[in-house]
Subunit: 445 residues, 2 copies
């Protein structure tokens, strides 16, 4: 299933939800991302909604109001799958159903839609909502797709061998912790762990003093493959439901001491933050870019290569990370940008991640999450972590209000944002994934 | 919650299920492990049962037959939690409820129990059963607790630094793949992956030629801890529902090429096999042993140490691994033992694994699975993997029928077994975890 530009991408479409037509809006009628929400403070169950402008269309209410009474069977199956409190059932249906529902929602939310009078009752302003994770996440796998990040971090951890010999052959990934994944707005407790300074003989147990963010794209899997059956590269995209933002919080001092030989563990398992809105792959169709790699690098191995997909395997998605310190918040100052990057710099395409992941026969399931790895761009200012931006903590960043940062301090809020924008198409936004560092656990352990 | 020897461990107890009274039986009335089963080939749903001798007591049927009509509230809550198709709800109730249900089951299955006439209707012979995973596993974490295994494998992967400097301080672990965990009896498809011979410039894609088993103990988590709140060492045991056998199938050639810097990925994510029966921690009370480490080693850091638990933190559980090749099976020959070890050799206790895992604030949930890591003993014959037994593939093992093995061949069945046995107490068995290697995926990838 390869999505093509169709009527849902038509840049002339406007919505009867006025705020969706504002320039720069993250959620125009061409976007239609899914999330799980309820009215803030309510005791009602979480339900599935679609972001439109500054509003959320409650799909359960829209269904109850009869908006899908004339839908065909495929659309009906899709909308009925949205009556659950997570997206998993919809994700399991596959691209034809996703596409059918997207088209129906696009038509319902357009300026001319006759159902708009009814559907206004199914709207909730986003600023009155609270969110849950979009899916019950089964397994979470984090990749390492930015060669710029891998090189920069490798230089800090292994000055003699920054980029390991396997990097240009293997889409490096590892299994992450699913239980501690949370949704934007969460407080992240500073983790405690074993830390060993290079000049000390023994480690100490202490709260991390080198707490960092990682600017990543999350890939939410829809569909599944049977155990033992790899997903060929040309079919990999059909397993992708959509993309979101992902902050892979990392404690660098804990990581440095624990990570050999089996990889990061406590340094990453205390929290991962996702944005609440999942932007479908179909919505991103206009922002596909050719995928290539430097001429001097080895070509991808045949199972990771496909003439049919090379022309559009990249995704041109702008990414940025901002910080709002406690002092900035108290002074009413907006978050300040720390870095800006783009997902097109990824050394591996999303299809390659899926095909490699399943090469061994590993089974993916609807609701699984892949992280792209930190999306650092080619220049130092495009780095997706403080570890890189501060050169391993040696060069503090100066903030506009006079504060400095090497790593995160308690009270710091980190905000990830993303959007796709291109002449001739409507800008598609991702909303944001934010999290605030709070003090370490204080009780005796 | 520290379990003590009580009436359920009484070695004079006999069951009205005759086969439970046979010497050497894995499942005497002193054991009472839980599993999820149904009649083989049936389309009825899986349900929870307790192994007793060669039979399974169907808890749903026992409940329906009125066996728990006079139970107290705690026991009733526990038995009602077993009406689900997985153990998760029971696991979430905590040790008091587990202990209450165990006591009730012990009394129902003893020789003198008045309910035996009724309960005979709730029995199914094990050889007429098929099994499902005992729990819906949320997150799976694999540790590395045998210093003998870590040293032997380290020598093969890193001859210059076999045991890394962090090993004696950090209970090394990493996140594994939950979706590909299966139950004993499964076929395991030989995984394909990138493999690079040391003398080659580039990797090839091929089925693993160095497919191995790993003899491990699985630890099934009951209860949970809130995100951000570590579990102190003295409370860690209360989070353990029970133990099972775990085979962490490993493709050594794929592992060697991919594992740096983020740890094993495709080399481990294609399959993990569990035994169907979960032996409760309470059943293992008589087999606790003092936990200690060599006097020259650093003592455990304070958060991993507890005077109260040192006296019994070890578990004296015999472990063995057997192989039955296709030729042996055709000739009607029983599986042949490859190695025998014991869980008491573990460098870290199960409590230490839980406390370390949560030190960062990581939240454990009922149904999570911890693997102990390969339980190799101090001598080469006690190694828990072929990698060690064959000295990295250099010394083939001679089998009794004249066959040789360095690594596993298609058609090989690997069987893990375990039991605890000690003078003055009744032998407690784990049953087995078996899996058979089948040919690699043949379709073009």
């Amino acid at each position: 299933m390869i999505y093509r530009i169709n009527e849902t991408h038509d840049t002339t479409l406007r919505s009867w939800v006025e705020s969706a037509n504002q320039p720069g809006c993250d959620f125009p009628v061409q976007n239609l991302p899914y999330g799980v929400f309820r009215r803030r403070g309510s005791i009602e169950g979480f339900r599935i909604g679609v972001a439109i402008g500054e509003q959320i269309l409650d799909l359960r209410k829209a269904y109850a109001a009869g908006a899908f009474d004339d839908a065909d069977d495929l659309t009906l199956a899709a909308i009925e799958a949205t009556r659950a409190p997570t997206l998993n059932a919809l994700m399991a249906l596959g691209p034809e159903a996703w596409q059918a529902l997207r088209l129906a929602l696009s038509r319902l939310l357009r300026e001319s839609a006759p159902a708009q009078v009814t559907l206004r009752q199914a709207l909730l302003p986003q600023d009155e909502a609270e969110y849950s994770l979009p899916a019950k996440i089964g397994d979470y796998t984090d990749f390492y797709t930015s060669i710029h990040h891998a090189t920069a971090v490798g230089r800090l951890f292994r000055p003699d061998a920054p980029l390991l010999p396997n990097y240009k052959w293997v889409p490096i990934g590892y299994h992450g912790r699913a239980s501690s994944i949370g949704v934007s707005g969460q407080n992240v407790r500073r983790p405690t762990g074993q830390i060993k300074a290079p000049d000390q003989a023994a480690p100490v147990v202490a709260p991390s003093a080198r707490l960092d963010f990682e600017l990543e794209v999350g890939i939410l899997i829809g569909g599944s493959n049977p155990l033992g059956e790899p997903v060929p590269i040309d079919k990999a995209e059909s397993k992708i439901f959509g993309l979101c933002l992902l902050n892979d919080w990392s404690a660098r001092d804990i990581q440095a001491w624990e990570y050999q030989p089996l990889g990061p563990f406590l340094s990453k398992n205390f929290a991962t933050t996702l944005s609440p809105w999942v932007v479908t792959l179909e919505a991103l169709t206009p922002f596909r870019t050719p995928w290539s790699r430097p001429a001097d690098d080895p070509p991808p191995m045949p199972y990771l290569d496909s003439a049919a997909t090379r022309s559009f395997a990249g995704l041109d998605i702008d990414l940025e990370v901002l910080i709002q310190t406690a002092r900035m918040r108290e002074a009413g100052e907006a978050p300040e940008r720390l870095s800006r990057s783009n997902f097109r710099h990824s050394y591996w395409s999303v299809s390659q991640l899926i095909t490699h992941h399943t090469l061994s026969g590993c089974n993916l399931q609807a609701g699984d999450l892949l992280g792209s790895g930190t999306q650092s761009g080619p220049t130092p200012a495009e780095a997706g972590s403080l570890l890189e931006l501060s050169c391993g903590g040696r060069k503090p960043l100066a903030l506009n209000n006079g504060e400095q940062r090497t790593f995160l301090e308690d009270g710091d809020t980190v905000v990830l944002r993303a959007w796709a924008d291109k002449a001739g198409f409507t800008r598609i936004g991702f909303g944001e994934a934010s999290g605030t560092i709070i003090e370490p656990y204080s009780a005796s352990i």
